[in-house]
Amino acid sequence: MVESTRADSGSIEEFSRRAGEFLESAIPARWSELEPAELIPVAREFQAALYDAGFAGITWPADCGGRGGTAAQEQAFREQASTRDLPTGPFVIGLGMCGPTLVDLGTDRQRERYVRPLLRGEEIWCQLFSEPDAGSDVASLRTKAVRDGEDWVVTGQKVWTSGARHADFGALLARTDPDVPKHAGLTMFIVDMRAPGVAVRPLRDMTGRSPFNEVHFDQVRLPADAVLGEVGDGWRAAVTMLGHERVSLGGATRRRDEPLSAANLARLARANGTATDPQVRAELAGLHAAERALELFSVRLRQEAESGTPPGARGSVGKLGGAMLLWQALHAAGEIAGTDAVAWEPGDEAAEELAVAINAVPASSIAGGTNNVQRNIIGERILGLPKEPQVDRDVPFRELRVGTQRETT
C-alpha cells in the first residue's frame, strides 16, 4: 500500500480520479464467471484492497475504522463504481445495513470488534428479522431469547435470509419479553453464525434458485455483550436498519443489460423481427418512458439530498415504481419474445436468463416490503393520511394472534 493512493486527501476531482484508477486496476478479471463458493475468497481480497485504499466506509467515523470522509467523496466513489460491476455482493448487507447500525448503536467494544473486519470483508454479515409468521408485520416475530444467568438462549426460525450460508455474523431480532405489547418486547443481538445450534438451510424460490435461506436456532447460547443497543429496544434498532435497507433498494438503478430492460427487449425485438410492429414499438416506447421516469426520479432525489433535503420515505416511491415497472416489462417481454419466452433450447443461456427474470418479477412486489406496505408508507408518512385502526398496539404479545396460526398462542 502506497500512501499516495490513499483517499483522504486532495480535491473531489482528485479523489474521483484516484477511485477510478484504483477500481481499474483492482477489480479481479472475469470474477462474474466464478461459482458462488469460489467467489467468496476473491471478493474478500478485493474488499480488503478497497478498504486499504480508503474507499470502503468513506463517510464512516474514523474512530471505529471508517475513513471520516465527506458525502461528496462517497458520491464521487459511487459514481465511479456505478459504471463497473464490483464483486461486493457478499458484503452488501453488512455494509448497507448491519454496519451502519453497529456504528449508530454499538458499544465502543462492539464497534472496535466488528466494524473494521466488516469493512475489510474479513467478516460477512447477514440480517435475521423475517419469520414465516412475521412478514410485513416483522414486530410480531416469535423467535425468543430467554435469559439464563448472564447469557441468552435463542430458539426459533428466521426466513428469507440472504447470504446466511457464508455469513460469519448476523443481526438477530428476537423477543425477550412476551408480556408487553409486541414492539416493546424485542431486542437485537449479534449472533455468531457458527455457534452451536444455528442451522442454515437453503430456501428454493419460484425461479428454482436458492438465493435465500431459512435459519433455525435451537437453544443457541449468546453472551450478555451480544445485545446490540438496549434490551427491549430492538424495534428501534430494527427501524434504523430497515431505513438503511430502503435507501439502498430505492437507489438501485437497473443494469441496461437486464433481460427485462427496455434496451434489451428492443434488441430482442430487432433480432426476432417484431421491431417493425407498431404495437411492439409503442410498448417499447412506453416502457422506456417508465424506466426513464424512475431513473430521473432517483437522480432528482439524489440531487435534492445533496442540496440538503433528505429522501425520507420517498425511497418507497422508487421501490414501488420499480416493482410496477417490472410488470409492465414482463408484458412487453411476452409480446416480443412470444413462445421463445416460455420454451427454449437446452443451453440457450439468454433464453434461460429471460425465463429466470420472468419468474423473478413477483419478488420485487414482495421482498423488502410488499407494494401495499410501500403504499401505506407513502400514504401515512408522506401524505400524512391517518393510519388504520391499530388493534394490536396495546395488547401484550402473548395474547395476540399472529401469522397463520388458527388459535392464539
Binding site: 410485513s136 410480531s140 414482495i366
Partner: protein, 358 residues
Amino acid sequence: MRLVLTGQQEDLRTAVRDFLADQAGPARVREVLETADGFDRELWRRAGSELGVLGLVVAEEHGGAGAGHVERSVVAEELGATLVPSPFLASAVLAVDVLNAVDDIGMRERYLPPLAAGELIGTVAHGAEAAERDGGWRLDGRLAPVISGDVADVVLVHASTPDGTGWFALDTTASGVRRTTLRTLDPTRRLARIDLAGARATRLDAADPDAVRSTADDLAAVALAAEQVGGMRRVLEMTTGYAEVRVQFGRRIGSYQGVKHALADLYGSWEQAVSVLRHAAWAADEAPDELPVAAAVAQVFCAPAAFRAAADGVVLHGGIGYTWEHDAHLYYKRAKTSEVLFGSERDRRLRLADLLGV
C-alpha cells in the same frame, strides 16, 4: 344460448374432480414432474378407459363418448385447476379436433379409438414442407414448440405442399424424425422441437386443409380458455383461503382493502371469464357460425385475466407465495405460457378485429 351447466355436466365435473383429487393431488403432481415423461402414463390410460374423458368429442362409433365441447371444457377446467400434467391439450384436443375436421374416415377409424382410449398420444404441429418422393410423402422442416411433442406417438402436421397446404400423419418413431425436449417456463406442460429430414408421412384427405386448421384453432382456444378459467378459480380459492387465516398487524389480511379489493377484482374477472368460456363452448356445440368470434373473445378476455390472477395470487401470498414449495408459482408459469402459446395479445386482438370487421 345456454351458459349454465346441466346436472349431467356437473356430475361429470364431480367425477373428474374426485378422480384427480384421489389420484393426482398436489404432492403427486410434484412427483410426476420429476419423472422422465413428466406425466403419469398409468393415470392417462385410466382417464381414457375408466373415466372416459379423452374421447368426449369423439363419436361413439370411434370409441368416444359422443358428448360435446361443453363437457370437454369441464374436464379442461379441472386440469387447469389442478395443473395435473398430461398430454390432454395435445391429444384429446388438438389431435382429436383435426381428425374430426378432415374428410378422412379411414384415418379417423385408425386413430380416434386409440386416442380416446388413452392408448395412443397425438399432437398437432405446423410449419413443415411436404413433397412426394421415393413413393410417398416426405416431410422436412423444424416444428417448434410442439405441445407434448416429446411424448406424442403421432403428430398431425399442417404442411405446405406443391399444391397448397395439406395435413399429414407422422409416426414419431419414423426415421428422419428427431425430437428435443425443450426447456420450459412451465414445468407442468412439456414442449418439444421436432426436426424432420425426409420423414415419411401419410397424407390425410382434407378438402379444405386451411379450414381444418381454422376450426381446430378455434376449438383449441376454447379448451385453453377452460384451462385458464380453472386456474383462475383455484388461485382465487387458494388466495382467499390464505387471506382468511393469515394474520398481520393483529388482523386477518383479508380484512385489509388492499387484499380484499384485489380479490374482489379477481373474482369479478373470473366470473366474466367463466361466462365467455361457457358461451364459446356452447357455440362450439350448438352454433358453429358464432364459434370463431366467441373463441376469439374467450382468448382475448381469458388469457390476460388468467395471468393477472396468477400473478396477484403469488403476490398476495407474500413471501410464502414466492417459494418453490408453494403451488402459487405453478399457476403463474402456466398462465404466462398459455398467454403466449397460441399467439401474443396483439395477435389475439387483431384476429378478433378481423372477425368483427373492425
